[in-house]
């Protein structure tokens, strides 16, 4: 089954290591993983995984959106560190109409709550919501629980 990992602006330091980790975990579950991102976020991934051991496919986020069709991926995992990323996630969710997980993370609790509410009100995605910025470990712990549910289903 194909999975799409959607990245936001790479300004948040936890995003790149979590994207590599999420790709690794989904590969282990048998997913064919593609990561859609900005060119800057893609370059961070390329340098983090130079031999493409964990990340097999990378695609430009806007090109990906232009060619996206319902059911094209069996799973959408979206990183939501900013308002724009919430808009992208909701848009990809409504086009794909597929099983989805939103990883919402921010250091400010009010902004985090606002981003989480946007996703809750606009989608039926599973939501991993966590106060985090530099340290990806709290995100990883909650993401593992969400991924474990996928394995159970």
């Amino acid at each position: 089954m194909k999975a799409l990992i959607l990245l936001g602006c790479p300004e948040s330091p936890s995003q790149t290591p979590m994207a590599v980790y999420a790709s690794y975990k989904l590969n282990k579950l048998g997913y064919d993983v593609t990561i859609a991102s900005t060119p800057a976020a893609s370059k961070l991934l390329e340098i983090s995984d130079p031999e493409g051991i964990y990340i097999k496919n990378r695609i430009n986020i806007d090109k990906s959106l232009s060619n996206l069709d319902e059911g094209q991926y069996g799973l959408l995992v979206g990183f939501v560190p900013k308002d724009a990323a919430a808009s992208y996630f909701v848009t990809f969710y409504h086009i794909l109409q597929t099983k989805s997980i939103a990883i919402v993370f921010e250091k400010d609790q009010d902004i985090l709550d606002n981003l989480t509410n946007i996703i809750e009100e606009s989608t039926e995605a599973d939501i991993v919501s966590i106060r985090a910025y530099h340290n990806p470990t709290p995100i990883r712990v909650k993401f593992d629980k969400a991924i474990a549910k996928l394995g159970d289903n």
């Binding site: 602006c9 808009s87 909701v90 848009t91 409504h94």
Partner: protein, 105 residues
């Protein structure tokens, strides 16, 4: 040739930016305030050759007398902007078709 929003924004300077580097909700508010008519589309609908990004229902402001529309435009690292762009009557008709298709869904 049909209108392409991304190309237009790169190659033209006759559009207005009502709000930039903002959140989607603030841009939606400006669109509602500054438009003669407001139509709504779903997230991901193609309007003027580009997929509209945002939280549905996404407002499209239409100003028939000025021949402009106001839409939200989102980029991952730059947030959302509300932009007013000049359009032809046939562009407005194309958007109306998208709105009608949304209504029937």
């Amino acid at each position: 040739m049909s209108f392409c929003l991304d190309t237009y924004l790169q190659q033209s300077d006759d559009y207005g930016i009502l709000l930039s580097r903002a959140g989607f909700k603030d841009c939606a508010k400006i669109i509602n305030e500054k438009s003669e008519e407001v139509w709504h589309v779903n997230a991901g609908e193609t309007v003027l050759g580009a997929r509209i990004i945002g939280i549905p229902p996404i407002p499209i402001g239409v100003n028939p007398k000025k021949h402009t529309i106001i839409i939200s435009y989102t980029k991952p690292c730059h947030g959302t902007a509300a932009i007013e762009i000049p359009v032809k009557d046939e562009d407005i008709e194309e958007i109306w078709k998208v709105v009608n298709e949304n209504t029937r869904k």
